[in-house]
Amino acid sequence: MYDAIYIEGKAKPAATYVFEHFANDAMSAASSKGMPVIRIVPETIVSESTATATIEAAVAAAFDNVIAVLTGPLTAEEKSPKSREPEHPARLVFKGTLAEVNRFFYQRGWTDGLPIIPPTEEAVAEMLTGAGLPADRLVEKLEPRQGKATVERIAVNAVMAGCLPTHLPMLMAGVHALAANPVCGMMAASTGSFAPFWLINGPAAKDANFRATYGATSPGDIANAAFGRAMGLITKNIRGIRKQVEDMGVLGNPGKYSWVAAENEENSPWEPFHVSRGFKKEESTVSLMFPQSFQQMMPFSTDDKGILATIVGSVVPARQGAFAVLLTPNNAGSLADGGWSKRSVKEFIIKNTVVPEGYYKRLGLDDSKPFDRGNVVIANTAEKNAIFNTNSRFPDPVQVFVLGGFGSWMGFLQGGPEPITKKVELPQDWAQLVKKYKNVVPTYARY
């Protein structure tokens, strides 16, 4: 819809075809750009359809509406929409028992379906001790709704998710990461169900108990579980991206609950990810990717040759977007022992990951066209059979992260834009905060 609004702003009438199930999404997008009266042409063409006959029939059915949208007289409201009242929701919205608070929040679409911690004045005040900033400080305005991500509003969502105050600086960095790339808004709303993957680097990751070792992305640690959950609630309640209203993910993605890991810097043979992106080792960062999928593979063998062959052999020609390899410390160590740097691993993957000879022909296709639409990596490649190549949109299409426990399984994140990395700004009394919350860790009973 953004293009239609731009076109109308240039004094040209526009008619945009919109799949009937996306009408709410289209109107939210238009409203967020100041044109709540935009005209659309609802149709019945399923997103991403290539069924020509069905498309022709649907266009024929909608065609009179296209003409009406372009030529029908404007109403007074369409000529001059009524200005809206500013949205200043009451600060205190409800009083009730734990169950009543949860019911109230759930029914307003403010949760992810799981129970929340009630964000009381007291709980939010404690959370704000992690900010070192005034509660009303604006961190970012987040698209598409342009919701104001103030320190307090971030803290409210953090309380709901179960965060500790030591997670708040990372959440504010995460909010900056979301705002840094307009593609992020589209990723969270896309039919492709892209889910945010958050990588935490630097000493603050350890201070706040973000897990980097065994089961780094599995449930069981407050930091990894609650950080991603809070960012998901921020996506709903501040950005205004709600399921089947603005988030039109078709299949959905469990990664949207929480998909967070710290890099296992202690056991990596290479420089940490944030250092390779220009930050100092003693700084802490939050990095964001938006993959669609997560694949795990046992390497063909655990030496450098087997690990690299497994990566290259596991990448399919139909893949789209950015790519990240998740290596355990052992996998990374094997590569380092073989003389590989992170950079040379990336170069090897880019150079050797190719579409097999005759691949499209075996599929009954003339060429790679069906795969090219979402894969600018292929579309702009200089080498015809290369799967990865660098270009202006993907200058660094392959990433390498070292995380997880001591083992041989490796993982691949597929899809979405390249990572965004933002520095975590810690409050002055960080050391005292860490002392207060560092020991909040599970102690498992032996049996």
Binding site: T16, E48, F63
Partner: protein, 101 residues
């Protein structure tokens, strides 16, 4: 008796933004030049192919011109093409857009 909690709203404030109305409509399509804006989603060109056929069948004196976005949204994601896009817009009377969703 259950403990009660008075709770803060997680829903963010948002300032009102200046609202814009729609641009004047055309009196008719016949004799006009209609821009067909195609984003990078694969249903988009098929939708516009079908539209173009119907336009030309119904309005014998209509002209069409296509603009192909490289992404989902030329105006928000392809700032480097703003001049090219504006030049194209200046040359058409109205736009029919297919975004593939």
């Amino acid at each position: 008796m259950s403990e009660t909690y008075e709770v803060l709203s997680p829903w963010a404030e948002a300032d009102p933004i200046p609202l814009k109305g729609l641009s004047p409509r055309l009196d008719k399509l016949d004799g006009k030049k209609i821009g067909l804006l195609c984003n990078s989603k694969r249903a988009a060109p098929l939708i516009l192919d079908a539209t173009e056929k119907l336009l030309k069948r119904r309005f014998p004196n209509i002209e069409t011109s296509r603009f192909f976005a490289r992404s989902f949204s030329v105006s928000s994601l392809e700032k480097d093409r703003e001049g090219e896009f504006n030049d194209w817009l200046k040359g058409v009377d109205a736009v029919i857009a297919a975004v593939g969703d």
